[in-house]
Symmetry: C2
Subunit: 249 residues, 2 copies
DNA sequence: CGCAAGTTTGACGCTGCTCAATCACTGTGG
DNA sequence: CCACAGTGATTGAGCAGCGTCAAACTTGCG
């Protein structure tokens, strides 16, 4: 039973046993951490690579006036400091939004695996490109959708992403450890306005939430009203792509 | 005299003559194109790679209601469809914002160069990671800064990026072919509000603009008031980094 | 000279923010 | 088992930043 890290990369490339073994060696000995722990600080020059194996985290920047913008959510399988590999310093920080398990691998070991197993490297870059696609869609959310659509769209994103890794129940519910403030800070609105607007979605019977769980009651309707199209998440097409492109095989 | 494509990659890795020669072969025979031309459409599966050699472009998405969000600006040296290499379909379109010159290389040829010259591959990924850093800062702009700071911050970004490729005059002026609507659509505000707010910056003597030129009259003051810190653009540190990391050499 | 595209300005209203109070939930110690 | 504290959720009132609609003006260009 591979861990979330392996499962995630498998979505992009069909890994061999030895590739899986190498990845498992990178991500063994997970360490438990607590909600609020800061995994990476702004300005760090990471010399090791941290992999989130369970729980949620986020990338974020804090402004002078104390306000916060969440840049991305990290879910099990995500690498926290991929940006530090090539570039000098982290321009943002990484914080845990729930208790979590984190594995740490030396940067050299990760480089080594990527050198030896080009398909693993390829899978990691695919994953980075999907993260970028999500980030682009967030720009659309924040820049051009009004609050109710932003929220609906973001909830559809969670639903779709978590569904693709088997973390959504048949009735559309999933674990949701974020506070309303965490969510609002990713959407460019205040938590007060988020609360009011989510209440409207609840009144309309589109969603239910509470006790760190979220249920999308009417996924199709929520997607329709918020203009959600899961294409940008590249749900699984890349798997075929990978097998068909010899240049990288 | 290498072209903008080579100059850009040189910022990240110190290229050898044969590497430069290979890149020049990829980007010879530039074709002139017109402002408004669509280089890549949403849903495309690019089989070739387009390189912008002069002029400006942007990545953008159009919503159902016709509103537009600009996701990134492309300046000389930028690759238009890097995202299509690994992933299946383009989730956004690429459009020219000024007349421009574009070179087209077969995707296979690009893969080939990256396989043979790992340092070139490394430089391209560095470039991608800087683009991501810019995109993260845009999220902060749109999500958490008010209009006047957004505009000031974005203008500082242009000033800094163009300065690093020698396209800014001593008095802080540079060619600026974007319409106010192009700019507003990247900032998540309307062109009307952009106009009013830029007028305030002009009244304060911070900027001057008109006739497709922009001048940042008081760069330090504009940076101070808008909270601009050029660190996220990774101005040149990566050059040392690249030389010092053997795993990729 | 006259059109077309882009810029500037005005009036008005709504979305979302601020400040602040209250309520609900969870975990802790007695 | 219960009181209590702390965190997060919810609600209210008032206001301001920004959007909408529309008109006038300016600039580039054939």
């Amino acid at each position: 039973m591979p861990n979330a890290f392996v499962r995630k990369l498998r979505r992009f490339v069909d890994l061999t046993d030895s590739e899986v073994a190498a990845l498992l060696r990178l991500s063994d000995k997970p360490v438990p951490k607590r909600r609020g722990d800061r995994l990476i600080e702004q300005g760090d020059r990471p010399k090791s690579v941290q992999i989130l194996l369970s729980g949620w985290g986020c990338r974020q920047k804090i402004l002078r006036d104390g306000s916060r913008q969440v840049l991305a959510y990290l879910v099990p399988g995500d690498i926290c400091d991929i940006h530090g590999w090539l570039l000098s310093r982290m321009d943002h920080e990484v914080v845990l939004l729930s208790d979590a398990e984190v594995a740490t691998a030396p940067a050299d070991a990760v480089h080594d695996v990527m050198e030896r197993f080009r398909r693993v490297e390829r899978a990691m870059w695919c994953s980075t490109l999907v993260d970028e696609a999500i980030s682009r869609e967030w720009l659309v959310d924040i820049g051009r959708r009004e609050a109710i659509d932003r929220i609906g769209h973001r909830l559809c994103e969670f639903h779709s992403r978590l569904q693709s890794v088997g973390m959504v129940t048949k009735d559309g519910a999933f674990s949701f450890p974020l506070t309303q403030e965490d969510l609002a800070d990713s959407l460019g609105i205040t938590s007060v306005h988020l609360n009011r607007t989510m209440a409207r979605l609840r009144e309309q019977g589109l969603i239910e939430f509470g006790r760190k769980r979220m249920r999308i009651a009417l996924p199709e309707r929520l997607a329709e009203m918020s203009g959600f199209d899961p294409d940008y998440l590249h749900p699984c097409a890349p798997i075929e792509e990978a097998a068909a492109t010899p240049a990288y095989g």
